[in-house]
């Protein structure tokens, strides 16, 4: 079940911001001609309010690469049109349809690393896009939808593991910042659950509505937002049936590839990709748990925070965890 594909029409979606489709098409004129325009974003998934933008992705033959957005204003409503090559959605989806999927307690989770935020955002929008013209077909064909959804679940799940690793390190470092990080973990667990339930959307602000309509348990949703420590977080992810294990064993730290060393006189310095200069820095490449044996947890957090180190999910360890679930299937 993908929320709000076929469950909400374009006219109903546009009514939220107070315009109708003929008005939009008339105002857009030739901007929406010569291709296939789709409504994407919060309005397309039954979210949004009177102040929402109308986000349109227009797929046109002859467009070689995505360009800057075209902004227009229709009866006070901001309409944001982005142009894409005609076949890019199909090509993007084709990358993922053969990805193996683990069937877990929450459903399918892709057995491949998350594709990166930009691709994740596009897949989210395209999975739930509504054609402005009735004759245009969905951007993602029905057979491909479970595979794309599994990729989006995997992306949210990796973010959860990263946050949990940070929270665990914060606990070991004396607790400063740990409560905030564990609360983010609870919140991210809801995001994973929503996506696994077919409810995908961009924009953090819609999570309360999405969680209430997908998880359907307001007490659990409230608890997920207030998981201030590890035990509270564990209770939430058990109730959400998320696969989970020690995040320090599922993640690894390594020097940030965007940082570089430079020499001024006899002084060696590290410059991070954020333009910050450090006379001393932390360099370690290891699973996070192993790294804590050589580097104090607080120092690791400082190094990650300042761009000296990255913390990322170990894909093999993650997939071994996912495959320990009851069944594994390739879609």
């Amino acid at each position: 079940m993908i929320v709000n594909t076929g469950e909400i029409g374009v006219e109903e979606a546009l009514a939220v911001v107070g315009i109708d489709l003929p008005t939009l098409l008339d105002a857009a004129g030739s901007v929406l001609d010569g291709g296939r325009p789709y409504l994407v974003g919060s309005l397309a998934v039954g979210l949004g309010n009177r102040g929402s933008d109308v986000d349109i992705h227009h797929f046109q033959p002859g467009v070689r690469e995505p360009g800057p957005p075209y902004l227009m204003f229709v009866e006070g409503v901001t309409v944001d049109v982005e142009f894409y090559p005609g076949d890019v959605a199909a090509r993007s989806v084709d990358r993922f349809v053969a990805t193996p999927v683990a069937q877990t307690g929450i459903g399918g989770v892709a057995l491949a690393p998350a594709p990166g935020r930009a691709i994740e955002d596009r897949l989210t929008r395209w999975l739930t896009a509504l054609p402005l013209r009735a004759d245009d077909s969905p951007l993602v064909v029905d057979d491909a939808r479970p595979a794309v959804l599994a990729v989006l679940v995997r992306a949210a799940y990796e973010q959860l593991l990263q946050l949990a690793a940070l929270a665990a390190l914060a606990d070991r470092a004396g607790g400063r910042g740990a409560a905030y990080l564990w609360r983010r973990c609870g919140r991210q667990a809801l995001e994973v659950a929503c996506r696994a339930g077919g409810d995908v959307a961009t924009g953090d602000k819609w999570l309360p509505r999405r969680a209430n309509r997908t998880v359907g348990d307001e007490t659990l949703v409230a608890a997920a937002y207030t998981t201030g420590d590890e035990p509270a977080f564990r209770r939430v992810y058990h109730r959400l049936r998320l696969p989970f294990a020690d995040p320090l064993s599922l993640t690894a730290v390594a020097p940030d590839e965007g940082a570089r060393e430079l020499t001024i006189g006899r002084r060696r310095l590290l410059v991070t990709r954020h333009g910050r200069v450090f006379p001393e820095w932390t360099a370690v490449a290891a699973p996070t748990e192993a790294a804590t044996r050589d580097v104090e947890a607080g120092q690791l957090l400082h190094a990650i925070r300042t761009g000296q180190l990255t913390l990322s999910v170990d894909p093999r360890a993650c997939e071994e965890l996912l495959c320990r679930q009851p069944t594994t299937a390739t879609i």
């Binding site: 009177r50 902004l71 204003f73 990263q162 409230a222 954020h274």
Partner: protein, 166 residues
Amino acid sequence: MPTTDHGHDLTWLLTHGAGGAWQFAMAVQSCLEDVAAAYQAEDWPVCVEACTATLRAVVYCEQVCDGYVGPPTEVERHLELALGDRPAIAALHRLPVPPGATRADADAARQLVAASVAELTARLPIEVPVLRSAAGFFPTVRIGADMERLRAEHGLPPMDWNQWEF
């Protein structure tokens, strides 16, 4: 704009200050619109969530003003919000919980946001009009053009206006 008895730092204005002002237009403004829209719709949980997003954007804007070349990863963002000591971060930690939020919670959240946004705008070297509006778009283009001309006069290359975007 930060002021001292010795005037303003022109190099900062043309680099990090301009970046902070641009990020204010690109991120903080749209978050403030989301807050207002959710409040008008009496959607208090979404309003509080939008306030959270606004304060995150304020923190990032302040980092840009301080010379941070972005964008940070999600990991770096959350560590900054967990461990940083900026007033806007303290404000974020005082926000109400979104689920079950009431009008009073939304009001309290908006007050925290207003105070943080006021502190930020006092630091910015220029006021960028609301970008995503019929009235704000072209004046913003003019500001960008003026900045590029001044940078060229100052011996700086063209600005990469996208360098701070997520």
